[in-house]
């Protein structure tokens, strides 16, 4: 029964958790991500102050025991706003991931499997979007649609799906001539079922890696859009807007920009470490 399983055909999962625990990146990343996610889920229940309650008498407070991270120009509690801002960042990035992974994998698989004009249409569209710098294109879309949470999700989805589509296409092209695909064709399996049963399960690992690294980019991009004022609007707290507002008081009240930047930086590092770690764990080629 000792079948020599090649790295390509081996089914990860059996020793996935073992390797995951051995990877320092993956462990540190997952702890940070777990902390951010828990904070986003349960933080609003625990925050000491109402994050949108204006109290002009308490504005520009330095951090103390009641306001752990101080207050902003309108006297709102910075700590509470950062906790809620994390929730906004996660909602935006998860929505963008859900949209782009769906669109990207479906279009990428169709392009690779059918080839011909389907491939040409999808990949030229991808090329056009890639021709713009990512953020410029997102800013353009956001400017056209007008600010708002939905706008941010749409704008970031539009710049993010081509990467997923291109990755999916190349992964599927690599599998296209595997004999189990031909066996499925010979068995009369319809195209949509071949994609679902044969391609998708064999390409999820690299897609997960790509997605977890992507979260960092999406959170950063959301912050940038909000920083520029074309993202999520007041009174909803977002890290990007908090950094923008804090910049003008950088000399006098550095805590405003500092804590929001820290939250953004730590979250991004967490997702990037998790993504790197997952790649080490899932990709047999870099495994040592």
């Amino acid at each position: 029964m000792a079948a020599p399983s090649t790295s390509q055909t081996a089914r990860p999962g059996s020793d996935f958790f073992l390797r995951f625990r051995r990877s320092r990146n993956a462990m540190i990343g997952s702890v940070i991500v777990a902390f951010v996610v828990l904070m986003a889920l349960f933080g609003p229940l625990l925050t000491p102050h109402d994050p949108v309650k204006v109290n002009v008498l308490a504005s520009w407070r330095a951090p103390d025991s009641t306001h752990w991270m101080g207050t902003d120009a309108l006297g709102r509690d910075v700590f509470s706003r950062i906790v809620l801002g994390g929730r906004v960042s996660l909602i935006v990035s998860m929505s963008v991931l859900a949209v782009t992974l769906t669109i990207g994998t479906v279009l990428g698989m169709c392009a690779a499997y059918f080839g011909g004009w389907v491939d040409a249409l999808v990949m030229r569209t991808v090329d056009i979007i890639f021709a713009f710098p990512e953020l410029i294109f997102a800013i353009l879309v956001a400017a056209v649609l007008g600010p708002g949470t939905l706008t941010v999700i749409i704008a970031l989805s539009m710049v993010w799906w081509p990467g997923i589509a291109r990755l999916t296409r190349s992964l599927v092209l690599g599998l296209r001539h595997e004999m189990f695909i031909e066996a499925a064709i010979v068995s009369g399996t319809p195209a949509h079922k071949i994609m679902r049963r044969h391609f998708l399960p064999n390409i999820v690992a690299p897609l997960i890696v790509r997605a977890s690294i992507g979260v960092g980019f999406i959170i950063m991009a959301e912050a940038t859009l909000s920083f520029l004022g074309i993202g999520i609007q007041e009174p909803e707290p977002t890290w990007g807007a908090m950094i923008r507002d804090g910049l003008s008081q950088l000399r006098t009240d550095p805590h405003l920009a500092l804590f929001a930047s820290l939250a953004l930086g730590i979250t991004m590092i967490g997702f990037n470490l998790l993504g790197d770690g997952l790649r080490d764990v899932l990709d047999p080629k870099v495994r040592n």
């Binding site: 029964m1 000792a2 079948a3 399983s5 090649t6 390509q8 055909t9 081996a10 089914r11 595997e178 004999m179 189990f180 031909e182 066996a183 499925a184 064709i185 010979v186 068995s187 009369g188 399996t189 319809p190 049963r197 044969h198 399960p201 064999n202």
Partner: protein, 332 residues
Amino acid sequence: MSAVPILRIENVTKDFQIKRSALSGENLTLRAVNDVSLDVYPGETLGVVGESGCGKSTLGRTILQLTRPTQGRILFDGNDITRLSRKQLKAIRQDIQIIFQDPYSSLNPRMKVRDIIAEPLENFSSDRSAITRRVHEVMEIVKLPVAYADRYPHEFSGGQRQRIGIARAIAIRPRLIVCDEAVSALDVSVQAQILNLLKEIQRETQVALLFISHNLGVVRYLSHRVAVMYLGRVVELASEQALFENPKHPYTSALLSAIPEADYSRRGTRKYLSGDIPSPIDPPPGCPFHQRCEKVQDVCRVETPVLDALAPEHWAACHFPNVSDKGIRDGA
């Protein structure tokens, strides 16, 4: 052997376009299969032998419509299947199946054995319990314990994986199975088991086999008739006995003399072919084999020989098929 062939390959040619360079846009044509005509009868095994690159696998793939022939027709049950739409083709999938060479890449690593074998059945039936019953039935036929049904392919050895592939191919009760180098990747002892299994399945189900292999010993063991391919063409076609005992084409004789012989008294008659198989992009004029043939004459360099019936049920494409090569053998 009944007189009506289940599969009739008629003058099939398959060309591949190869880009010479991206800049000039000049294309080269590689003729992988060149004007091949073969019949396969119900319940028989037709062996197809030849060196790597002779087009035998491409021929198999055109039969399954994994690639469409450039010219010619492939008739299954008298119906041309080369011009069917995707939808019409699906009906044919019940009748023609394939067993691949590589038992590793031919099974999806993320599917359970049960689901792999059930896949062709699910495409033509929605009766879950009947499918499960059939899966267990074919697992017994290929001698895999039913308890293994919920395991994944990487838990099996090469021979066991090939049994899974065979189970998948026979599950839907096809009438023709193309075996593309079905045992070439296996150990010799495992090869024998798989060959016996195929023989047994054929005896019970009367399935026709098109057995593609470079291994003459294996082909001889399984086949009723054998076609020898060289550079995309069939150069000799005969019953197993006639071909192995009385080869007419010098290429066939050379192939036969290359079979390892355990009997010492019969050694020393090896014919060696010089040179490589010519490029199918730029085939030589005349007989495709003339550059390597010991009996070559002037006419061979000019005129391409056609498949001639030299005896009942024995065809060869050679200008001098009856010239004895006894002298060459003894002299070596």
